[in-house]
């Protein structure tokens, strides 16, 4: 089953109104090439699930700035004043989750579960409007699983079956999202022969991946952000 395909075929599976998960935490692990293809395709009314909104004019922020995203489920937008302003102007609906609860909800969806129970935020505004139950004497918030129609993820290496290996801090949300969508599109920096990855060191097994797209050229946005060099 050769899952290597061209980017436009892969992205054409994404339709107006769908829910899309996008990997990445800052630049590392963000599938910039897939995001650009989705932008070009013109798909609208998306619900986006991503840790943050990248930074202005970068990554998913481009989709949001172009008005393609109705709703963003995220953890933190501290580095994106543009999207924060859009949120304040009600141009986009934003749902904030504690970061670990966000990834846990995604993993929960990927694990075919309905939800989980956590005490994170229990005595804060976060527990408003949520079901609170008691289990073995512990009070917890019921958090619902998150799934998406499509996940767009980034990996360092892939094979034609769809096995993936991530690199350093570019792993972040990608493995959880790879489990939690009906269709998973992975962009990879290089495709290697099937069988050449160490089976003990594969992060995402092939079963979770539907399309593998090779990045031909790592454009500038994949590089170092000069304003994040602190010494």
């Amino acid at each position: 089953m050769n899952k290597v395909t061209n980017i436009n075929d892969a992205i054409s599976t994404i339709k107006d109104g769908q829910t899309i998960m996008v990997g990445g935490f800052g630049v590392p692990g963000t599938p910039f090439m897939l995001i650009d293809a989705l932008l070009q395709q013109g798909t609208r009314h998306l619900t986006l699930i991503k840790n943050e909104a990248n930074e202005p004019h970068l990554g998913v922020s481009k989709l949001i700035e172009a008005g393609r995203v109705d709703r963003l489920i995220t953890s933190h937008l501290g580095l994106n004043t543009t999207v924060l302003a859009m949120m304040n102007d009600k141009k986009i609906a934003v749902e904030f989750n504690p970061q670990g609860i966000l990834v846990e909800r995604i993993r929960c969806g990927g694990a075919g579960l309905i939800g989980f129970i956590s005490d994170i935020g229990i005595d804060t505004v976060l527990s408003k409007h949520k079901q609170v139950i008691t289990l073995n004497g512990q009070k917890g918030i019921v958090e619902s699983a998150l799934r998406a129609d499509v996940a767009m993820i980034h990996a360092a290496v892939g094979d034609d079956l769809g096995n993936l290996v991530y690199e350093k801090s570019a792993r972040n949300f990608n493995p959880a999202m790879a489990t939690a969508a009906d269709i998973v599109i992975a962009e990879v920096e290089s495709i290697v022969n099937t069988g050449s990855l160490n089976p003990d060191a594969i992060h995402t097994p092939s079963a979770f991946v539907d399309h593998v797209v090779e990045i031909r050229e790592l454009r500038d946005e994949y590089g170092i952000l000069e304003h994040h060099v602190f010494t």
């Binding site: 935490f25 800052g26 630049v27 590392p28 692990g29 840790n51 943050e52 995220t74 953890s75 933190h76 937008l77 501290g78 580095l79 924060l84 949120m87 304040n88 934003v94 904030f96 989750n97 504690p98 970061q99 670990g100 609860i101 990834v103 846990e104 993993r107 956590s118 005490d119 994170i120 935020g121 005595d123 804060t124 505004v125 976060l126 360092a156 991530y166 690199e167 350093k168 801090s169 570019a170 792993r171 972040n172 949300f173 990608n174 493995p175 959880a176 992060h203 994949y222 590089g223 170092i224 952000l225 000069e226 994040h228 060099v229 602190f230 010494t231």
Partner: protein, 224 residues
């Protein structure tokens, strides 16, 4: 007795330097954005401390130069970093299992407001500052020890330590110790207890700038 006043920059460094002393050899530590990150500047690496970063790193060292920056290696604040020997990478899910599962010995975080019983507010000012939550709530609630490193007062010179927080809470009764440029204060049995006084501070100044009851033990307190 007049005391020398610290600049804000010096105050932040002083807090970070004092905070570093809290770390015991071999501990797993998470450093929030701001003053907590400054602790790296003073960290004694002989302690073989393991610094955790929420984005999936155990064993980050410090911010690195442009020359050694790796596009795939940043901390949770976005800065390029290098690693200690024995570092590991993992996904965000395992990263928060580490935090919520109780494997984090200390989290250092900043604060907007703190209450007498150890409540922390540091994530939003309704209508003004609503950037989201990030990993702070889980760090605050689940680190074995939560140490707040913050300037004693806000930009307007108003106390950050209050009887009760007025801002939405990050977590209730989570703070173990507060380190400011003026003092070290512990939260003990829902009360604040002064444990150290800065060389540059007086007891009167600390009491004046703290808007909550403060237990002051008899005798001379250690200076820092």
């Amino acid at each position: 007795m007049t005391k020398k006043r610290l600049t804000v920059s010096n105050a932040r460094d002083k807090i970070a330097r004092r905070a570093e002393k809290e770390i015991i050899a071999g501990q797993i530590v998470n450093l929030g954005i701001g003053i907590p990150t400054l602790i790296l500047k003073y960290l004694d690496w002989e302690k073989r401390v393991q610094i955790h970063s929420e984005n999936g790193i155990l064993g980050m060292k410090s911010h690195c130069s442009r020359e050694t920056a790796d596009r795939n290696l940043i901390d949770a604040g976005g800065g390029y970093i290098d690693l200690v020997t024995g570092a590991s990478f993992f996904d965000s899910s395992l990263s928060f299992s580490l935090v919520r599962g109780g494997r984090l010995d200390i989290a250092f975080l900043g604060a907007l407001e703190l209450s007498a019983r150890g409540d922390l507010a540091n994530w939003m000012i309704p209508g003004k500052y609503t950037p989201g939550i990030g990993g702070g709530m889980e760090l605050a609630q689940k680190a074995r020890r939560l140490i707040i490193t913050t300037l004693h007062t806000n930009r307007k010179g108003q106390p950050k330590i209050l009887e009760s927080c007025t801002l939405p809470l990050t977590a209730k009764a989570c703070v173990d110790r507060i380190i400011t440029e003026l003092s070290v204060i512990d939260v003990v049995d829902d009360q604040l207890k002064l444990v150290e006084i800065a060389e540059e501070a007086t007891l009167e100044e600390i009491v004046e700038k703290t808007d909550a009851p403060l237990m002051v033990p008899d005798g001379e307190l250690p200076r820092f």
